[in-house]
Subunit: 115 residues, 2 copies
DNA sequence: TGAACATATGAACATCTGTTCATTCGTTAT
DNA sequence: ATAACGAATGAACAGATGTTCATATGTTCA
């Protein structure tokens, strides 16, 4: 067995081992889908604002300087990813973060960005 | 001052307060740019694999079942975001995670996804 | 009931993104 | 030098994404 063959086998072994350790394809796909949500400045702003407390759609739109419609569409995406929850009070709908993960994820991201 | 005016003022106060607490626009923009990187299944897979140890481009392509070119393009994006580092050994280039943030961010994401 | 208001939704459009293909670059060995 | 190999790059194309506009839903109050 020459050197290159040995080298190739070493590769194949490592590749096989990693393949085993990899989570199911679907899990990593879902993970990417989750991060996709964070990967838009409008949505990140929404999440950041909501990390400070609940707020209604109208105020969110005002703070972000975008259409009410745009905010609504994005909140829909956040809802679908279970990142926010909402409650209705008369004509007004208040949104808030669904759980603590969001804060942690954002905090880690900010640490990386601010280095 | 009637009720609706009071209500409106309450809104404006809260909006103003949150506006103060918000990080600079550019920071949140950069944050979104960072998460955008995680928001693609090919890149997430790359990051996950690299979290297990360094690996060369060829093997990465094989593991992911995509072109060497595609991997190279995506590694470029990861490099630009300072998420990976690399070293050359002869004809081969080995990639590895740049720091620990990636693992933390992914772990938090996985927690959320697997609920 | 109907007017007024807050929010949600659908369609359309321009922009962005990720892949492939072809080619080039960098390195090693003959 | 040149062939062979791994990796990087650029152009191009198909598909996804975010916004706006128009309209619909849901709620309150007169």
């Amino acid at each position: 067995m020459d050197e290159s063959t040995e080298y190739l086998r070493a590769h194949q072994e490592q590749v096989a081992k990693v393949k085993e350790a990899l989570p199911q394809d679907e899990v990593l796909y879902d993970l990417a889908e989750l991060f996709k949500i964070f990967g838009d400045s409008t949505r990140v702003k929404l999440l950041y604002i909501l990390s400070l407390g609940e707020m209604c759609v109208y105020d969110l739109a005002q703070l972000l300087g975008v259409t009410q419609s745009a905010v609504s569409h994005q909140l829909r995406a956040l809802k679908a990813s279970k990142l926010v929850r909402y409650r209705r009070e008369g004509k007004t709908v208040f949104y808030a973060l669904a759980d603590g993960h969001v804060k942690t994820i954002m905090a880690q991201g900010l640490e990386h960005v601010e280095e």
